[in-house]
Subunit: 385 residues, 2 copies
Amino acid sequence: MPDVIPADSVGIVTPQTAQFDTPLALSCGQTLSSYQLVYETYGTLNKNASNAILICHALSGDHHAAGYHKMTDNKPGWWDTAIGPGKAIDTNTFFVVALNNLGGCSGSTGPTSINPQTGQRWEASFPIVTVEDWVESQARLADVLGIQTFAAIVGGSLGGMQVLEWSIRFPTRLKSAVIVASAPKLSTQNIAFNEVARQSIRRDPEFFDGNYLDNHSVPTNGLGLARMLGHITYLSDDAMGAKFGRQMRHDNYQYNYGIEFEVESYLRYQGEAFTKRFDANTYMLMTKALDYFDPASQTNGDLSAVLSRAQCAFLLVSFTTDWRFAPERSEEIVNALIKAGKPVSYAKIEATEGHDAFLFPIPRYMAVLNTFLTRIANHIITEVK
Amino acid sequence: MPDVIPADSVGIVTPQTAQFDTPLALSCGQTLSSYQLVYETYGTLNKNASNAILICHALSGDHHAAGYHKMTDNKPGWWDTAIGPGKAIDTNTFFVVALNNLGGCSGSTGPTSINPQTGQRWEASFPIVTVEDWVESQARLADVLGIQTFAAIVGGSLGGMQVLEWSIRFPTRLKSAVIVASAPKLSTQNIAFNEVARQSIRRDPEFFDGNYLDNHSVPTNGLGLARMLGHITYLSDDAMGAKFGRQMRHDNYQYNYGIEFEVESYLRYQGEAFTKRFDANTYMLMTKALDYFDPASQTNGDLSAVLSRAQCAFLLVSFTTDWRFAPERSEEIVNALIKAGKPVSYAKIEATEGHDAFLFPIPRYMAVLNTFLTRIANHIITEVK
């Protein structure tokens, strides 16, 4: 990090932990008797608690969305480009809450936590949680923080699915929903990629049916493979081409299975780095949460019908080169909202970065986000007056 | 197979083996002192040997392109829909030759063969072969068969790359080149998918650095994973959606890692079936041959310059939903040929099947192929007269 905290950074932040002792009934039928959620906040909650924004993270995200934990951190939180004083999600105006979801591996209760019933690590016995379960647990966190209604709930990718679920499940608890690079449900191809990722992990002999930590092991080969595959789907073909092309490690072909092209090196590095910070069981259950999400299944496949429950304003954002959650998938949501007569804004952003674009500070994207949230802020201020 | 051989089938065919004892210098610098190629032929070679068509196979193909080996076969050769009496590649007119490429696992010399120098199986020590090596060995097979000039050389995907190489390397030895669903070189994304497939195999502990047979094992988990991933890229998102959608195995979600969606079952089945018929070392080297192919590298990246050596007529075919080798990739070849002043026909075929479309008897595709080859046939007959 820089020697001096930048003026538009939220600065040094400290994660907090909320303990929940009211049992949580999960979609799968199991109940968590108690659990913890780790979270961070940026900015100040106003008197009537009307300026809060909840950030929902994607597959490999966590609660550390902005700022630094300490001056020696190499990099700030994962969405620092969007969250801070004067940034698109302006912490001079809003009180921003970011948490690590249940089942995660960054501090919230998940497979690497101790099961209080047994005194042992959960590992494979941790229940598969769903987007619905996450939203339920996020609502309880809001209760603890004294937030009845969020000014906005914001999320990209899997995070966007949580936002969509909020708008259906707790229609009165959010003024606006910002859904970026997301989809109302996975396509068959999305599920297929997830299944290959899961099989990569499960087929690693170090996986031990999910109880690897108790076997003093980690399925790094399988988790690394899953991440390599993920990276291909996060980038566009063009972005990969522009970044690496057919750039070679050596002057000539080596005719062996070492690294020949730079893209191979990139993928291996990304795969390996991921295994040092992420838990394989968490990765598996996150992919299942993605697979399962399908709110329209409650209304016989009619997305518009289920979205008719929503009472908030919507902003949808997609990116031209995103083939994992293509613009057409966002437009399914937009069209269903229009059909349901809901207020919806939509921006398809020109971007070369593929699905990853939702993490980049693309000027038009940031402007769209800021304009929408400023309108929400003005509305809140008017209400307060 | 049916009780009676269909009238438009080439019928019962018997693979033949050609032995080569003239050393073959490979691109990698190694030399094969001797080797065998297994092949099949359909139809009759005419007196002046001017009616021969060579079929080049793709990644997982072999020499059994049409007909049946025995009456109890479950299915005919892999391109039986296109090759036979009265079919697009008409065996009443043409003498069709299909071979298993060097490095293959269906009878030609490859990793599972015995290395005559050592008396042991080659396994990991089998050299990585290239498209150039294949074309060289195919030309020697043509010599054995008494074919100086092919009426056409035809191939899809990796097979199309061999056809392109033929047109550059042996310009006088083919009258026409039919290149289907192919590309002048892999994109970065293509290479990335290949690298994940190779890593899937290499990280399987049963791989034993490629010497699994000597260790009485087979890396079925890794090879199966590679094939599962392959299948996702062969199908279009739409084709997968149409075929499986979100169709479930059970009435409700099971909240475990068993088969939940039918597409998961399909992929696991395809992966497992492949491991019973294909060799992992062959799969690895085929993906390297794909990665390496880049004829324009001989002319500083100018595809048109290298193709200026060609003397044949070209037919290029692509399929609208193919995202592995998208139509734009075929069009790169078409445009380079036009720039080089070569005769080229091009058809972009509406198809829902993605890359797999090149194996389907899509009427317009078959008609284009047949019309082009009929023109070649008429030209040959005119010459003979």
